[in-house]
Symmetry: C2
Subunit: 415 residues, 2 copies
């Protein structure tokens, strides 16, 4: 795809975004529900396209986890349709008056929530992201440009077709959802440089994608970064609660960004807590600092890199800290600004932790696994932002909007 062709596609999305921006909730929801129905009625075609994708992926020797992410089943298609209906049922963020007042000169000043315009999404080979991301974008009144992986191209084509038909059924422009079919590296760079066409780019992928984006993008973006999440077990922790939280944070779904990657334990409770948690985390590879290894000799030494990494699997780095200050310093040094938890019964310690840890989410006496749009009550999420500008933490439909100032007067001029 040439840059010209890409710009033409993006230009059509921009035109469509103007109509979507002023469309009623009723029409947007109708489009989402029509798309959900089409996903279900076209399930056979989607599965056939996915089968072809899987065969090619196998021929290209993709590994099993990648094949699993790519694989669709009837149940997964039903889940995609259900997700679209759930998004349709959410409140429409567009038009919300975020705040407003009247100035002494009589000017009414309001900040009103409006769509972003055109949202770009770059993602890897999960075909469900295609409908999930598109659904959220349309709900928020945006057009969306989707750039999935080459391995999922056939699946994505059929899914996007259902979404476009859904828009048409509601009388909305089908260019509101568009797939970038050229998945070359050059096209990825060109996509990141569609300045004036894309209002917000959301990358859903690994470190290489993020690095490329930071280096090359000229469009605004929101980073969905790593989650090197810590649980700190304070000297004043309820150790039974701490055990349950650490096990949940590490084991309930080890491959996701809000899973715990490092356990920090206060020296005063280390002798009691470490043997207990090691037993509960059977099957998890523990690596620890020298103090941890004195208590748990079977644990391998943790390298500097172990403390800095997101394992995304059954591995946990463990450290002993002298006090809250040392825990805060460790998190400031190694944390990725995602989700950080403390277990403590001491209110002053809890308050210092929530104030001083610089992360998208800080949790007291709760599992890091709760950092999620659904769990927070935001409805579906399009990712979890680890940056500070625009969105921080779970990005729901509201984070796919921006604000506009609306000023109403009766002839005021500035003196």
């Amino acid at each position: 795809m040439t840059t010209t062709a890409l710009e033409a596609l993006a230009g059509r999305a921009r035109e469509a975004s103007r109509r979507l921006a002023v469309s009623s909730s009723a029409l947007k929801n109708e489009a989402l529900r029509a798309a959900a129905e089409l996903l279900e009625t076209d399930a056979e075609a989607i599965l056939a396209a996915n089968q072809a994708d899987l065969e090619q992926a196998r021929a290209e020797s993709l590994d099993d986890p990648a094949l699993d992410r790519l694989r669709l089943t009837s149940a997964r298609i039903t889940a995609m349709a259900t997700a679209l209906r759930d998004v349709a049922a959410l409140a429409d963020p567009v038009g919300e008056v975020i705040e407003g007042w009247v100035r002494p000169n009589g000017l009414s000043v309001q900040r009103v929530r409006v769509p972003l315009g055109v949202v770009g999404v770059i993602y890897e080979n999960r075909p469900n992201v295609t409908s999930d991301a598109a659904g959220l974008c349309v709900k928020a009144g945006n057009a969306v440009l989707l750039r999935g992986s080459s391995s999922a191209l056939r699946s994505n084509r059929v899914i996007v077709e259902a979404l476009r038909k859904g828009l048409v059924k509601a009388g909305l422009p089908d260019d509101g959802v568009a797939l970038v079919e050229d998945t070359s590296r050059e096209s990825a760079i060109a996509f990141m440089r569609l300045r004036g066409f894309i209002d917000c780019l959301i990358p859903r992928g690994g470190r290489a994608l993020i690095d490329s984006l930071v280096e090359n993008a000229t469009v605004p973006y929101v980073l969905d970064g790593d989650g090197n999440c810590h649980v700190y077990v304070d000297q004043a922790a309820d150790l039974a609660m701490a055990e349950e939280i650490v096990v949940n944070a590490k084991l309930s779904r080890p491959g996701v960004c809000n899973a715990a990657e490092t356990l920090l334990v206060h020296r005063a409770v280390a002798e009691r807590f470490l043997p207990r948690i090691a037993a509960s985390l059977e099957g998890v590879e523990l690596v620890g600092d020298s103090e941890v290894r004195r208590i748990l000799p079977q644990v391998a030494p943790a390298t500097e890199d172990d403390f800095a990494r997101e394992f995304l699997g059954l591995k946990l780095a463990v450290g002993i800290v002298d006090d809250l200050d040392a825990a805060l310093a460790h998190i400031a040094r190694y944390g990725s600004g995602h989700s950080e938890a403390i277990v403590t019964t001491d209110v002053a310690t809890a308050e210092r932790f929530t104030r001083e840890v610089d992360a998208a989410a800080v949790l007291v006496n709760a599992s890091t696994r709760f950092v999620d749009g659904g769990e927070f009550g935001l409805g579906a999420e399009v990712g979890i932002s680890t940056q500070k500008l625009h969105a921080r933490g779970p990005m729901g439909v509201r984070e796919l909007t921006c604000a506009k100032w609306v000023v109403r007067g009766n002839g005021q001029v500035r003196r």
Copy 2:
């Protein structure tokens, strides 16, 4: 300045930002008021440094407007001190609970306003920006790295010294305000690439700076872009009101970003309105489309570039449009997304304009000149954002913060 030296400076700012982030409003305000006093007591030294800057600038043949921007007077120093005291008097945005609720599982979920961390500001040769920007950043609990122009270096050094001493007087770290003294082009690029050190970069400068930033920056930034602002005089406009608004929008301060650059007039009122407004805008160079020139033969033809440009001076492009749709299309094509005004008595027309124009601010029956932090009631502003992410429109002290999710539980784990 080598990248290493720049990173060392930024590293000290980051350390300072951790202390500032948890400092009380009382201490931050004490620092700002102490700095205001120091500006006044050190006025002689500031004026002497400024005199040296002015002499060098004259020797380097800076033009008169640039010399005027660079020049400090006793009155301007007093104004800088007053601005710091005004910022001290603003409400502290840090700690505000933006929203919060309790989930069915008993988790308390709150979104709390927190400082950004380290803010970078790149600006040109107005020395007052040094204290204004630093004051707002400190108020919001941030450290700030200031990179002014080489022509103002001596002035900026003395002003920054006052701010640093003010911090020390309040027991806060002086590295919370730091000046980047190397003003080479290489250092500007290195500054834009201080990823991990700068949480938000704010450029205050012209198109070349913005372009360089978009191309080179790896740190997050908020763009303070051009203001190609329109006033649309509808067929249902009160023409006396329209005249007053257009004159105010163009003439009250032609060199600023919220001044009007294009006047669009509905065909139905053009014959009546154009001669009248042309007379009121005496001294303004008008350029118009062919329809305008039929009514005002003395007006020179407007080029495509005239409609696309921010004149920042006594020039105004004028166009006649057939209807609201044509006005909206013109603004969508040429507008820079800053501030757009309509003059109309028709409520449906006003509502369509506010809904459909995609800009930071839309105004009904009011001058574009009101788009300003002070006029909106936000207190002082650090700039006006024309981008959609994070901040859009006037950026006050609140836009120098971000949010953090704080989750409090009593042992909840995710099932």
